[in-house]
Symmetry: C2
Subunit: 226 residues, 2 copies
Amino acid sequence: MTDRPLPASLPETERTRHRRLRDQGSLERARLDEILDAGFLCHLGVVVDGAPMVVPTVYGSDGRTLYVHGSVASRSLAAAPGTPVCVTVTHLDGLVLARSVFEHGVNYRSAMIHGVPRPVTDPEEKQAGLRRLTEQAAPGQWDYARRPSRKELAATALLALSLEEASVKIRTGAPDDGDGPDAALGLWAGVLPLTAAWGAPEADPLLPDGVTPPPHIAARAHTRAG
Amino acid sequence: MTDRPLPASLPETERTRHRRLRDQGSLERARLDEILDAGFLCHLGVVVDGAPMVVPTVYGSDGRTLYVHGSVASRSLAAAPGTPVCVTVTHLDGLVLARSVFEHGVNYRSAMIHGVPRPVTDPEEKQAGLRRLTEQAAPGQWDYARRPSRKELAATALLALSLEEASVKIRTGAPDDGDGPDAALGLWAGVLPLTAAWGAPEADPLLPDGVTPPPHIAARAHTRAG
């Protein structure tokens, strides 16, 4: 909640130090922010009875705190307060098709955030965190749709995770075996890019005739996501 | 490795029992297979020093065993043999834009697999598992590209996870507040679908002139992924 800016470099900790594929690791906070801003779906890892659970959920980031959504009744979030979590956000950008199977891989951008989350209980922060989360997934909807009532706010579980300890990995570009012995095989090699895009809005069948999507939704159709 | 078919229903265990949003939970093995077959990226959760780590990686499924890729040097996989893991596969299908912020959500298909993985050491099984994994991500490449050498096989870490204990969640369709009091607000509501698609193949800049993508790669351009 302070205004002190986070350092531009991510700290190297035992958990975030890149042990392998070091060229794919980044310690720039700007890369972390880009990856988080490009999405809204994360995989939340928690330890329950000694075993990991990985749950897909939605998040919003303000560059300092990651707000992660969950239900009060959810087993994973009930277990999380005070216990460490790992939140991972991954954007898959393409298949790396090399000359050898061994050099095959994927182009991707991934951020892994470690920490002990704080359950958000203050109604004002909960409202602000939910707004962030809603606007990250569906920009414009916080102002367009009916906002949460006090009762709905209370029924919503929100975790706040500091963005202090994080690790970023990015792979881009062509396969790595273009200058190795396998180049002589004469095989095609390259990248098959993968893109996620929004389609045309599909109206709720229960909607009365004549209600059209507002501009902030209509404008998103056929644009890239992530 | 036996041929006994897995039961058509997924077993309800302490971990897979759906506690909330029960209508989104499925115990049909066919749904699990569909979700696994539709992708190749998973999030692997392991416990390292008491804290969870969630690592994106690729997998291949034969309907009985999930083969998960990783490096021998990878901290998470080094920790995994003999210890429980959770592998989650999620396909995001769209944003559910309701009349109220509270009813907003996502359409998705998600599978969560629990178990203690077995490191694959037998060269024959490793080859078969890698083939499954390669063909799931890049159909046709196992036969087209140079296959792994003995040395490369040894340098590849592969985990095998039984598909016995799994949990599936699926949400499809319109928002849920079309017949509630918020319908009177007169707001547009519906779904903004999200689709991932393959783009045109991008040749490795080091490729000599005249080497064109083989049909199995070219045919994939502009088709849906997931």
